[in-house]
């Protein structure tokens, strides 16, 4: 499964969310991550996030796609972080 995860989280919790997401997905720009992830790992991510989020104030939105190829991505301006396995 290929996902795009975006979040809108209060400043003092945002750092934790950033660190958590970095373990699972690729950062592409502020508050936006994307990448290949399994169903279970995504559940794990969400469940770990819920432990510190305040659900009345914070939000996460996840766009799911079965495969990266079903996702057309258009970048306007500068690409902040290119996802690559060749570093």
């Amino acid at each position: 499964m290929y996902v795009i995860l975006v979040y809108d989280i209060e400043a003092r919790r945002v750092g934790r969310m950033l660190k958590l997401c970095r373990q699972y997905l690729n950062w592409i720009q502020n508050s936006v991550f994307e990448g290949e992830i399994t169903e279970v790992k995504l559940k794990e991510l969400i469940s770990r996030a819920k432990k510190f989020l305040v659900l009345e104030k914070d939000s996460i939105i996840i766009f799911k796609s079965r495969d990266e190829k079903w996702l057309e991505k258009q970048i306007v301006g500068c690409e902040k972080n290119k996802i690559e396995t060749f570093l």
Partner: protein
């Protein structure tokens, strides 16, 4: 390796899986379903962990044992495969009984479907379990791996690729 509830469950699912498992061929690491099961186990009923205890008895791990009410709680991912689940819990009750704890009952919970099933151990069950234990010991000690079962039942098994990879 001591005989565990996993052996009992696999015995009812697939003899070959039991034999492979007993001989050290484990596949959990490749299976998303197993990972999901573990996740559900770790994350459902989170507050329960404080009240109930994890009991290890003869190598079998009972996830949640409510010692006060003498109830074993077992969490399962799917609603299918009840036969194997039932025997797994009955085996726990049997083990507890063997160590002198009588009057225990079980509850299998399917958090995904918000369902649960109650399990009791009858005298006939006990006889059956003892016979099953002997069968399992014999089967796993045998050098011959049992044959494959019907392929359509294997689709979601973590041993699928192992069993069905062939060359023509």
């Amino acid at each position: 390796m001591p005989l565990t509830a996993t052996h009992i469950a696999y015995y009812h699912l697939c003899r070959r899986k039991l034999w492979l498992f007993a001989n050290g061929i484990t596949m959990e690491h490749t299976s998303d379903l197993v990972a999901d099961g573990r996740f559900i186990h770790e994350n459902s009923y989170e507050r329960r962990a404080d009240k109930f205890s994890e009991v290890e008895i003869d190598g079998s791990k009972i996830d949640f044992y409510d010692a006060k009410n003498k109830v074993i709680h077992e969490t399962k991912r799917s609603a299918a495969r009840e036969v194997a689940h039932g025997w797994q819990v009955k085996y726990y009750i049997y083990l507890l009984k063997k160590s002198g704890i009588e009057g225990v009952s079980g509850k299998i919970e399917y958090p995904v479907f918000h369902q649960c099933t109650d399990v009791l151990l009858t005298q006939d069950d006990e006889i059956y379990i003892e016979k099953t234990i002997r069968n399992i010991e014999e089967l796993t000690a045998s050098p011959a791996c049992p044959p494959k079962i019907e392929k359509k039942k294997c689709r979601y098994c973590s041993y699928f690729d192992f069993c069905w990879s062939e060359e023509y």
